[in-house]
Symmetry: C2
Subunit: 135 residues, 2 copies
DNA sequence: TTATGTGCAAAACATTTGCAGGAGT
DNA sequence: ACTCCTGCAAATGTTTTGCACATAA
């Protein structure tokens, strides 16, 4: 495909990555923008989008195209899946060892050259389930 | 959750569903709009969006929130997964029998109440693979 | 008759892009 | 110096919404 482009080590890039690595949530571009703006008040939203995109392309971070309207970003690159709460839209990691198995089955089941996959679970998170019980 | 609302049987609704059922692709709202407009030239794009949303909520059709910028719709409700070509963005069905297995594993692996899941494979479709070979 | 649905246009969002100046290498 | 990057603002693309009129039940 593509070699990572000749990427410069700018303050903006560094701080975006640092802020993303600080959280275990899976923030949207706008949430990253808010976090980064506390340290770099003059940064532009476009810069955040451009850098998240670039870093995702070169595999430094993960871009999640999960349900909902906005894309989300994740500093954890190692393979894992995601659960999204259908009530509050929170996204969490989930780790089940089926990666290989599923790719093999998929390769057998269609005439695509399978490159990978992502599983998105939907469910109700603990907090939302309890809120429901309280009534 | 929710009961299907009291839904009327309108011409627009019927034709949207008919057109969606005609194709095996997974059209975007705008593509559905184009198909339907051949038969109902005065239909509004808003109407198409409202109806696709309503029918998805009541389980008549499937709304796919797959990678890419637009949502896609599918008249096939029975459980199946999807492959998306990373070159041309085409989406096809793929059927592998791992549904149960995966839900059970996920339930054990997190504290969400798992409701379901979707797998999106990414790969290169036949057409794009051949185009590459030709050079 | 009356709640729901429709067409139209505007609004709301999310994301991308053009450009002139700024900063890594 | 020479690119690549940034801030800003405007443009784009997708989806939602307000409203007055139409229509299914």
């Amino acid at each position: 495909m593509h070699e990572p482009p000749n990427m410069r080590f700018t303050t903006q890039r560094q701080i975006i990555l640092e802020e993303l690595a600080k959280v275990t949530s899976h923030p949207t571009a706008n949430e990253v923008y808010d976090m980064v703006r506390r340290r770099l008040p003059r940064i532009g939203l476009g810069t955040v989008y451009r850098n998240l995109e670039l870093m995702a392309e070169s595999g430094i971070i993960l871009k999640l195209e999960v349900g909902g309207t906005q894309k989300r970003f994740d500093a954890t690159v190692s393979p894992h899946y995601h659960v999204r709460c259908t009530r509050c839209n929170k996204v969490d990691d989930i780790d089940i060892p089926v990666q290989q198995h599923i790719n093999v089955m998929a390769t057998a089941a269609c005439d695509y050259q399978i490159l990978g996959h992502h599983i998105e679970f939907s469910g109700i998170c603990d907090a939302c389930a309890q809120r429901q019980q309280e009534h």
